[in-house]
Structure formats: structure tokens, C-alpha cells
Amino acid sequence: MSLLRVEGIHKRYGKEEVLKGVSFELERGETKVIIGPSGTGKSTLLRCINQLTPPEKGRVWLDGTEITHAHAKINDLRAQIGFVFQSFNLFSHLTALGNVRIGPIKVKGMSKEDATELAMEELGRVGLKDKADAYPAQLSGGQQQRVSIARAYAMRPKLILFDEPTSALDPELIGEVLEVMISLAKGGMTMLVVTHEMGFARAVADEIIFMEHGVITEQGEPKQMFLAPKHKRTGEFLNKITELYGETD
């Protein structure tokens, strides 16, 4: 059984249909990268998966439980799905430590002591133990994004969704975030990543999913996608973003 199964997701904003029936699966421990031109619904797809934006049609299962079911325990299910935002969205009134431990405390009912210990460990994992008392506004973008990854991982989710995690960062800060993500992927975390970082895709992706105009037009192993894409359009796009974003690995 797949860890994540997405079937026939449709979503429209007003007149415009952003997602026109997207289906795919993600096995435990896999990392899949979603690429495609902007405005093709990649971010919307991620939000449809954890129901931050409920889809109009289509179903999503996490580990056999249907998230899209009318009686699904949505908060319990969301707690099992980490989400890393493009703009970090760290809680502005909490320190780095506060951000990482609030989920375990409020959602899992963990004691403050245990949550603090866990949070310090997670901050250590992303190399920010010494920034535990800093507020988000006192951190660089790269540091904020690492804290937000720690915040997601501290919940011990079954999978983590990444929505263009490096797109809001200065080029010199991208590397530190990708490094954390690569080590998570290699550590067996199940990840679904919307990104233009082809270096990351080559390094850890089990599969690349190419989306355009609200549908998946092609998917396959990175090697095959780069060397022998089935569609001309996929090849053109891959060449263009590799040229634009380089091979940061």
C-alpha cells in the first residue's frame, strides 16, 4: 500500500480550473519532485493534499486513511503531514525554539520539558542550536527555512510536503536549506517537493513529476527525464530551468 495516494484531484478558482484531474502515488521513504511552469497548480496540489485548500473533486489517502472523507479526523491527519512553505511562515511571536516545540505541545499534548528537549535536538539537526532563543525576524531566510523544516519534522510526520522551499531565498542561502532536505531524504523521510532545484532532484529524487496546465504530463526517474524525456516540452523545460537555476549540488 502506498503511503500517499492521490486520485483525480480537481480544483478551480472562480472560472479557472487550476487542477484538472491529478493522480499519483508516493511510497514510504520515497522522494518525488514536482516541476513545471508557474501557474500550473503545483502549490495548489500540495495544499489539496493536506486540505489547507480542499479540492472540489478527487480523493487523497494517507497510509490507507482517506483524508478527503467527510468524516476524516482532519487535524489528526494534518499532524502526520509536515508542510514547509515558500515564505517560511514561522510564528513571529515565538523564538526558534518556541516555533519547533509548539506543535508537539499543543497538538500531541507533550510536556513542555519533553518538547523543549525534542525541539533542541531538532534545531541541532538543522544546525541552529545556538539560535534557539532568536525570533524569526532576527534570522536570515535560510535559517528561518531550516527552523521551519525542524518545526515540521518535530511532529514526526509520515511525510513532508515542500512548497518551493528555496524560491524566496537569496542564492547564497539556498545551499544550506537543500543540505538539510537532502539529509532528511537520505534518512528515509518521505518527501514531496515542488522545486526548480534540479541539483536536488538529481541527488535524491526517486521520480520527477512534470506538471503543466493542471495535469501531469510526464513522470519518471530523473535520469530518464533529463536524458530521454518522452515529450519535447518536458525536455525544453528541464533545459531552461537547469540553465536558469544551475546545478546546485
Binding site: 510564528f91 497538538v107 525576524a137 532576527q138 521551519s148 515540521a152
Partner: protein, 213 residues
């Protein structure tokens, strides 16, 4: 005598601010998160209590119940009338602050598995309260002075005491009213200083409102 009167103003001020804060926060939360029906009710409430003159409210809450045989003490009537009026203004300050918190904060909280209520209580309100202090400073300066209106329902506050003095010693009128003016200058100054101190005290280093809207 004036000092005793001033103390009553301060008591009334604290009481009405507490009523205003509690009711105002509730109204603001309903306006922002209450959905269409409750939101409209809350907006209607805010509109009504901001539209009626303070004196009319005082008379309504003081003389109104006595028509039905219920006697309300001046202090209670003044606290309710001015407190509800202040709650309408405070709700608008707090509503603005709630709406200024970027939507990304709510999304991040929900993505961790928090319920909507948990997200509002632990993430949104603490940030919105900090943003509200500047507006409250203004509201504070305004309600401090409103407490003198309570003399019309017979509350023994400072202005009424002055009236008692000047009724007997007309020649002291100028001096007495100047003293009252000074007392309120002092009160307003102290209050704003206190709120300024609080604002610095709970300021989050480098906080700007930002992120996903």
C-alpha cells in the same frame, strides 16, 4: 475631597476598560472568525454602540431599568454604559489587528494539526494583542475623560465634587476646574506612559508583519 473623587474616576475607568476589553475582544473575534451571521450581529453591535452619544447611553442604562422597578447603582450603570461603548471602539482596534496578521500564520498552525480555535488562541491572538496597544493608547485617553460624564447619573466622581464646591464657592470655579484639568493631564500622561512601557516590554525583537497574505 477631589482626591477621593478622582479615585472613583479611576475605579470607573478600570471597570469600564475591563468590560470593554472582554466584550470588545469577543466582538472582534466574531467579526473576523464568526462567519456571516455572527459577524453581521457583531458588526451591528459595534455600529449601534459607536453611534449613540455617551450621555444617552448613560441615561438609558441608569433610568431605563428603574422604569421596570430595577434600581441600578450609578457606578454599575456607568460601567455598563461606558464599558459597552468602549467595547465597540476596542473591537474595531482589535479587529484591525487580527486582520493584519498574515494568513500564512493560520495556515502554518493548521498544517501542524492545530484546530482553528487553538490556532486563534495560541498564534493569532498573542500577535494581534501586541499590535493593538498603540490603538488602545488612544482609546484609553478618550475613555479616561468619558468617566467624568458619569456625574450626570449622580456618581460621586471628581467633576461632581467640583460642582459641589463651586455651588458653594462660586469664586473658586476657575481654580477648581483648572485643578480637574491638571488631574486629567496627569492621568492621561501616566496611562500612556504605562502602555508605552508595556509595548516595549512585550515587543518582539525585529518583528515586522510579513509572510504570506
Amino acid at each position: 475631597m477631589l482626591l477621593h473623587g478622582t479615585l472613583i474616576n479611576i475605579e470607573l475607568l478600570l471597570a469600564l476598560l475591563i468590560v470593554g476589553l472582554l466584550v470588545g475582544t469577543l466582538i472582534a473575534l466574531l467579526q473576523v472568525y464568526g462567519g456571516r451571521f455572527l459577524g453581521t450581529l457583531a458588526s451591528g453591535y459595534a455600529w449601534i454602540f459607536r453611534s449613540i452619544p455617551a450621555l444617552v447611553l448613560l441615561f438609558l442604562f441608569y433610568f431605563g431599568p428603574s422604569q421596570f422597578g430595577v434600581n441600578v447603582a450609578p457606578f454599575i450603570a456607568a460601567t455598563i454604559a461606558l464599558g459597552l461603548r468602549s467595547s465597540a471602539y476596542q473591537s474595531q482596534i482589535f479587529r484591525g489587528a487580527l486582520q493584519a496578521i498574515p494568513h500564512g500564520q493560520m495556515m502554518a498552525a493548521r498544517s501542524l494539526g492545530m484546530t482553528r480555535v487553538q490556532a486563534i488562541v495560541s498564534i493569532i491572538i498573542p500577535q494581534a494583542l501586541r499590535l493593538s496597544i498603540a490603538g488602545w493608547s488612544n482609546e484609553f485617553s478618550s475613555v479616561v475623560k468619558d468617566t467624568t460624564l458619569a456625574y450626570v447619573v449622580g456618581l460621586n466622581e471628581v467633576l461632581r465634587k467640583v460642582r459641589i464646591i463651586t455651588d458653594r464657592h462660586y469664586d473658586l470655579a476657575m481654580l477648581a476646574y483648572l485643578t480637574v484639568a491638571l488631574i486629567f493631564l496627569g492621568l492621561t500622561y501616566a496611562g500612556n506612559w504605562g502602555l508605552g512601557w508595556l509595548e516595549t516590554r512585550i515587543r518582539i525583537p525585529g518583528l515586522q508583519i510579513g509572510g504570506e497574505l
